[in-house]
Subunit: 148 residues, 2 copies
């Protein structure tokens, strides 16, 4: 039933002008889910690199992380500062957009490079690059409301 | 510092035989993160299809969901039933592996089809296919310990 509703909404959206109005809660939910995906795929990648689980999904995790990072920049474009509950984005995300967006661009670029190395040479080639391909802390220190 | 440790572990793993020993907690953490990724990317996809956020990441979400689904089958191969806390997999995952694994295979196949349609024709083509491309409930009803 839920899916029929969603299917109906999907059809409705297709015929309506594609200028969707995203309210603040949607904006925060959207970017929270993107960030969570990054966190989980990073955790999975680290488990593989640490030898805690077999390495056959190494390339898949790098690809998923790269995809999530590309979703991230778009997710932060709407200027909606976090409310501290659903959203944790400081206003500095937008007042210092040049710096924030550059950090995201750099993150995406590093993951693109990592993905290429992973596809070319698997964990043997890309494993040693993982540590320097990720800088979650660089953004979070400056742009995320600290968790209590 | 954490990353240097991880980097060191990564190097150590590369020279060690690649038969990583995964303990039960690792197995459960691993598959939990894969499932969470699926849940989040599905939520994001539904938000796009419902018109709550702009559609420019539609293809990206389909791709990420497809990737996570391919990670899922491997994640459930180690026979570790959930402990109810960290892990929610019922023993039936493995006692009924033929059915469980077929459901996952079908899910991956549907997402592969959805991704192809999304890449070819964007949301116009693939949007109407989303509702019938996902059957989270089919597995969860039978194979996941109910959430309290």
């Amino acid at each position: 039933m839920n899916r029929l509703v969603k299917c109906g909404l999907a059809l409705a959206v297709l015929v309506a002008p594609v200028m969707a109005h995203a309210d603040d809660q949607d904006v925060m939910n959207y970017r929270k889910n993107v960030m969570k995906t990054m966190g989980e795929q990073n955790a999975l990648l680290q488990m593989v690199v640490a030898g805690k689980v077999p390495a056959d999904q190494f390339v898949s995790h790098v690809k998923a992380l790269h995809l999530a990072a590309t979703q991230a920049k778009k997710a932060f474009e709407p200027k909606v500062a976090g409310d501290g509950a659903t959203g944790s984005a400081k206003p500095e995300v937008w007042t210092a957009w040049a710096d924030f967006s550059k950090r995201l661009d750099d993150q995406v670029a590093k993951l693109a490079t990592l993905e290429k190395a992973a596809v070319d040479g698997g964990m043997a080639k890309a494993g040693p690059m993982v540590a320097t391909s990720l800088d979650c802390r660089g953004c979070h220190e400056n742009y995320r409301v600290p968790k209590k």
